[in-house]
Symmetry: C2
Subunit: 891 residues, 2 copies
């Protein structure tokens, strides 16, 4: 089919389409795929797509439809009527259409939908006659009025619901289906009265008027609060707007030979290559998705309607081959005839995504490179989080089992409302959101929670889909087969547990969710354990390693963390914050004695107590690293941070140091700084108190010699001097370090080159970046401390910027929070300058990054571009960084 310039509408139907799958930006995901499916002869009801550009135009015109659009709509309605063989507003066989939104990125349930459009007082009669089912026709009309009123005209939903309840009560009907044609006809009158009361207008009897209003409503929904929250949460940027899909209606609720369903070409929860989905006979699509009725597994359709089932499985294969990815398919069977209403790349858990990507390589659907690029590195986070300790889980009372909607494990306090969830989260508690069902209004509450439990809804319900996207653990449909009762208003949950006892929980009580193959709900708070990584995950990481150029190290401060990180694949330590070692156990007393000492003699006395402790830690870390490099940062924070600020802590120190508490308080107060981030810290401490540096260097080298001598392991200590701003700071401290090293090696009676050590610095002060050439003359490595570099480079205190940084990212001043994603144009430029200046002077200088950015994929990509040798991040983010590094390298 031909297309024109400035064309607002793209038609699809009868095996031909103006659009195709590549036109997602213009037609939205749904529209592009409807066109594509039409072209490859998938049975799709005909229709047309109004472009996303039209949505942008609509906003530019101040929320008005462009004039030329109206003519195009007329032309396409005519085409549609011809294609589907029905006429809009026809009094014998009226064309009914659905109006659905569809942006370039999938935003399930976020924008508005109108069904059954085209029904009017006149056409409903024809529709009743044609379908031979008056009740169905009136019910459809009733639903349309309600939906149109609610979605398009903002008539309160609750008033329609109340009228429906009253009608059922009057008719003593249990379900909607029990209402007679007459009763439905009366209800329609009541609905129209409600409509008129609120809109001051009659319900429109012109399908064209219905259509135009609905299109506007969909365009407007692009900018509603829900949609905007979703866009922010999912980092969707630069989209034009939503497309509008107008498509001939087909009905899954025309009796027992009709039905509707949602299916995935593979298991979206664990990735298994097995057809997966749910359907309901005699239902509309919304019934499955909304989770009001619990649907049947797709496999059982083979018995109910073998022809449709076979056709569906053939389509499953065809679509997967065509799209080379797992598809999420919506279908409707109208009186035995199968229609596909939508296909899209299916959302999946990370576990599934990894397995599917690896499987597709094996099935030769995609290459290894494509598989590596297919996984969002951030999503791996889900796989890397702890599960419950099996012993505690075994010991806990199982309250019930529901659907394993999103995998993981979470303990937390019960919240029944978004507000409660947010409140607990802000108080530092973990939260489990408990609801009968969730809707897009619940996004904020889900975001605040660690896990979600719902009574209603299936594996494709709102709660399930969203939780998987968020990487949160979720159990759905938990009331099926149990006596679970959730009273959201009263703040109560009750259930008879597997052990036969009745349990009641109220707001704030602890429960736990454990979701693997089953969705288990447990009583109380449980201990967690670290995840094990195997199977597809390891295969993916091996593929990534083939392409990766940067090394990935970890930030670890203890022998324990070191071991975890190595399990996750860390290739050394990029940042060991020695002061973190100071907080364990009683060590802090000696640290405080050192800080509060009156003179160098007193400090040296306290440092003597710390030496064996630090040496032991380093020794164990070297053993764990077994030959991998270990960058050790000398003491960095302002001394004030180590001191007790409460009377109790000060009393303890007074006793330990045989001083008055008031004296301790005075010493503590003396060390207070107005801007500690820019104060007496980092290498400035060592300039003032070289004895601290001497102790730390001594511990590093003594441990290195011991490890090499006793355990024959290779040790590669890299001594890192923090917060250097001027090369002279570095040269002074390097000289002291070298002197100490010389002394230790002499004492230990080993050769001068016995230990292969390096001395380098962090680049975290802007001045250091600017004068990196001077510093590189002296330093053997640079590690970019991008946290501080961001603080000083942008002038944002991490502790205070929260107050305005959200405002800044919302206003688009910074695209991302610069503490989360490196600010390439500013802080990144400083890094670039330092890299160039550093390499110019010392060609083989080792360059890495050890700020939080080292585990953030966009920043890792930047590090690759700028030519760093390695990134370093927290143990749990090592695989993420590895994957991101591989992707950067492929790109």
């Amino acid at each position: 089919m031909a297309t024109k310039k400035n064309q607002h509408i793209y038609f699809f139907g009868n095996g031909k389409a103006q659009g195709n799958a590549k036109m997602k930006t213009l037609l939205g995901g749904k529209g592009a795929n409807l066109a594509e499916m039409t072209s490859i002869k998938i049975p799709v009801p005909p229709g047309f797509t109004i472009t996303t550009n039209t949505c942008a135009e609509y906003y530019e015109l101040g929320k008005k439809l462009p004039k030329t659009l109206l003519k195009e709509i007329d032309a396409n309605i005519t085409k549609l009527e011809k294609s589907f063989g029905k006429k809009f507003g026809d009094k014998s066989d009226p064309l009914l259409v659905s109006i659905r939104s569809g942006a370039a990125a999938s935003m399930p349930g976020m924008m508005d939908t109108v069904l059954n459009l085209g029904l009017t007082d006149a056409s409903v009669e024809a529709f009743a006659k044609k379908t031979g089912n008056a009740k169905f026709a009136y019910d459809s009309y009733r639903r349309f009025i309600q939906m149109f009123g609610d979605v398009v005209m903002d008539v309160p939903h609750s008033e329609f619901e109340k009228a429906l309840r009253d009608a059922k009560k009057k008719a003593k009907a249990v379900s909607d289906m029990d209402l007679s044609s007459k009763q439905l006809s009366d209800l329609i009158k009541t609905y129209k009265a409600i409509y008129k009361k609120h809109t001051k207008k009659n319900f429109p009897n012109d399908p064209k008027e219905q259509l135009l209003s609905s299109i506007k409503a969909v365009f407007s929904s692009w900018d509603n609060e829900r949609a905007n929250l979703y866009k922010r949460m999912n980092d969707l940027r630069g989209l034009n707007g939503t497309a509008v899909n107008v498509q001939a209606m087909v009905f899954g609720n025309m009796g027992e030979t009709s039905g509707t369903g949602v299916c995935f070409t593979r298991n979206p929860s664990n990735g298994e290559n097995k057809f997966y989905g749910e359907y309901l006979m005699n239902a509309q699509g919304e019934d499955v998705v909304a989770g009001i009725r619990t649907p049947n597994p797709i496999s059982s359709l083979a018995k109910k309607d073998k022809k449709s089932y076979n056709e569906l499985t053939a389509i499953r294969t065809k679509l997967e081959k065509h799209y080379k990815d797992m598809q999420d398919i919506e279908f409707t069977i109208q009186e035995g005839k199968l229609y596909i209403l939508q296909t899209r790349n299916g959302k999946r858990t990370t576990q599934a995504a990894v397995k599917i990507a690896v499987d597709k390589v094996k099935e030769k659907l995609i290459t290894e490179k494509q598989a590596v690029l297919e996984i969002d590195p951030n999503s791996l986070d889900q796989l890397l989080h702890p599960t419950f300790d099996p012993a505690s889980e075994k010991a806990a009372t199982i309250l019930l089992k529901g659907l394993p909607a999103s995998p993981g494990a979470a303990s937390g306090r019960i919240a029944f409302t978004n507000a409660q969830a947010a409140k607990y989260k802000d108080g530092g508690d973990q939260v489990i959101l408990v609801r009968n069902e969730t809707s897009p209004e619940d996004l904020a509450g889900m975001d605040a929670s660690r896990g979600i439990l719902t009574a209603m809804g299936g594996m494709t319900s709102h709660a399930a889909v969203v939780a998987r996207g968020m990487g949160k653990c979720c159990v759905c449909g938990a009331s099926t087969g149990t006596d679970l009762r959730i009273d959201e208003k009263a703040g109560k949950l009750s259930v008879t547990a597997n052990n036969g006892k009745k349990y009641t929980f109220k707001t704030g009580d602890y429960i736990s969710l454990s979701v693997g193959k089953e969705g288990v709900v447990l009583d109380g708070k449980l201990k967690t354990q670290d995840p094990e990584l195997k199977g597809s995950f390891n295969e993916l990481m091996k593929m990534a390693d083939k392409f990766r150029k940067m090394k990935v190290r970890t930030n670890a401060d203890t022998p324990k963390d070191t071991k975890i990180a190595i399990k996750f694949g860390a290739e050394g330590i990029g940042l060991c914050r020695t002061e973190h070692m100071f907080f364990e156990g009683d060590r802090i007393i000696a640290v405080r004695e050192m800080i509060l000492a009156a003179d160098e003699k007193g400090r040296r006395k306290a440092l003597k107590k710390l030496l064996p402790i630090q040496r032991k830690d380093f020794y164990e870390m070297y053993l764990a690293l077994n030959g991998m490099p270990c960058t050790i940062r000398l003491i960095d924070p302002p001394l004030h941070e180590f001191l007790p600020h409460d009377a109790k802590g000060q009393a303890v120190m007074a006793k330990a140091m045989k001083k008055k508490p008031s004296e301790i308080k005075e010493l503590v107060d003396d060390l207070h700084e107005s801007n500690p981030m820019l104060g007496h810290r980092g290498c400035r401490l060592a300039i003032t108190y070289p004895e601290i540096l001497e102790m730390q260097v001594r511990a590093i080298i003594e441990a290195a010699v011991d490890a090499k001598k006793k355990k024959k392991v290779k040790v590669l200590p890299e001594i890192m001097i923090p917060l250097v701003g001027h090369v002279k700071e570095f040269t002074i401290l390097k000289a002291i370090a070298l002197k100490t090293i010389g002394e230790v090696l002499k004492e230990k009676k080993v050769a001068k080159n016995y230990i292969d050590y390096k001395i380098g610095t962090m680049i975290e002060v802007p001045r250091a970046a600017i004068t990196a050439d001077e510093i590189a003359k002296e330093a053997e490595f640079f590690s970019f401390g991008t946290n501080d570099l961001t603080q000083m480079g942008c002038g944002f205190s991490r502790d205070d910027a929260g107050k305005f940084l959200t405002e800044y990212t919302n206003a688009g001043i910074y695209e991302y929070d610069p503490f989360q994603v490196i600010d390439e144009a500013g802080v990144g430029e400083l890094v670039k300058i330092a890299v160039q200046k550093g390499r110019k002077v010392r060609k083989n200088i080792k360059l890495g990054i050890c700020g939080e950015h080292g585990g953030e994929p966009k920043s890792v990509n930047f590090c690759h571009k700028v030519g760093l040798d390695y990134v370093s991040c927290s143990p749990f983010r090592v695989p993420i960084a590895k994957l991101a590094a591989a992707q950067a390298s492929i790109r």
Copy 2:
């Protein structure tokens, strides 16, 4: 005379010298000038200079003299003996020498001197015989033993003094001169015993041994505490060491035809071209300088010894023409024969320096360029400080008049010791140091004081010379002709005032010094007034203006400051800190209401009260500026700084806002930040509260329109948005500013181009410097806020860095405190980057600096080099900046 490579010693004598005046680095100032004077036939006693390199070698060898030096000493002693016709250690006519230090820069009194060297038990007899004055000979020997013991061997000075006192007591002698030869001879024995007690050695009877020990002592004194303090205080860096001058002794104390004096070729206090100086007959040079006896004015020498006086005035003319600068000359007359012992460029007050420079141009001794370069811009500070208000001064009781040793005016609390002076200064009080006389030990106390008063000593006494150098006001010799008594131990000063009444002051009481042509000491604390600049000063500034390329603006926040700055020659306002206007009078209440308001409405209400106040200030500043540009910075500091932190202030606000004090306290606490320097401030405030910016821009433009309309003055407001880090901050705020400006111009019914305004930004966040090209697309000017740029660029909090920055400059990490002198390699590099990037995008972008550095000469020089259009500094520093800018331009 020929010189050799690696030569340690340079000889001068009999009209020939190996060195010359250009060799100051090698020979020190004194040595180079002795050589030069010898060459131009000035009567200089012969001698030789051991080079400063030898001093460096001495330290490199671990405080040992180089071996080859010893041979050179022998050779030069032989030469000297020949030249002067006396022999070292000779038993009939022994050669005596003086040993004096002399570095490349003048450091008066800082290092050690030994006189009369060569006297031994044997030679003293010969000396007595030869001079025919046994008393004189023994007294010389006594003095030599004392000086050698004290300076070379560290024998306590006090023990010799005690022995002398005891001897006088025993002999019932009033002065040293009253002791007989026998008594002196006995005293010599006692001195030798003291010497032996402390050194465990006999006093050396070998002149060679005396010489070598003395040379070592002079070299060692280069590194003593006094000398190091002087070097730091006078910013003397990169010196090799001191030279040692060994010179044949001549004696001013050989009776009434002998004498000694110090003179200046012009008046060092006011610059008048009149011979100036003091002398004492029958005295050694140290007697004049130390201020023990009050000397006679040089003019009276014409009567005492006309021949020497005429010879001296001829030498005065010769030396000035030769050196093209005012000379400070030391001379000795030995039995009617005049010798010149030293000449150097004379220290002078700034007032004198300016007059001398301008006069020398008139006398065609130097060019205008040379005159401009001759004045240290920092020294102008002295001329720019307030004097006493004449009415108050007239009303005050004159306690006494002394010598006008260093001009200026100062009130302060009396301190008799260094410790007291430091204590008052640290407490925020101004101090007058009151002493009988000062010595190099008193440097710290003088540094802490605003003025110095001494009972003893003349215009060339230690107190006078040092005070002039420091630019402090000083009255000397105040006991001459008065009954002034200073009891330093008891902390008391008493004097009968001009009114005949007796006054007594104790530590902490207030006195005032007013030094112009007279040195007046007044009772109590006096009001000051701004200095008036005229005469030579104006002539010098005019010369400077001929060469200067950069404009000099001022930092002024009030109409009053603006007027002062214009009087000092400011060419516009470079920084008006609008928030400073907020603290005056009751305004702060409205400011606090604005900050504490619950919402935008409340803020707007409070802002309405501030609008007319700000408008009025701007209006008056525009009038004062009369067409010169005015850069106005929008609100900058964290809001917390405006709030009351005490219960009383909070109670006031509670009443004003009809809230509970506890509520106010909570609001205040909420605004607290961990690192306010990196917090919610600068343009970040305007992003959050655009209504503040709107009010300020409105005030700026309304005042501009009013001033232009009503007073027909040209107005050039430059609206400056502070703390921009990202161009988007700027564009957002610029848009709001433009909208407000548009509204104001419309309301005022004037054309859109009625006011010639600019909108620009400060470059003070490192990120802004790095992305200056982006920002320059939008900003019409940059003003470098180098205070903040230093804070963030170097990572130094101004409020906290005091704790370690002194240590940093002492250790030479930063050459200067980077908050005082711009750190060229780091912060300066950021400025350079921003200048280049800014000009690349906007060729005619206006570039200036408004940090404290704008008034500091080294930094002004940097600003010139980097190509800024103007600097801006505090009103009192405008002339300094102008002179510095001219010098930069000439260089």
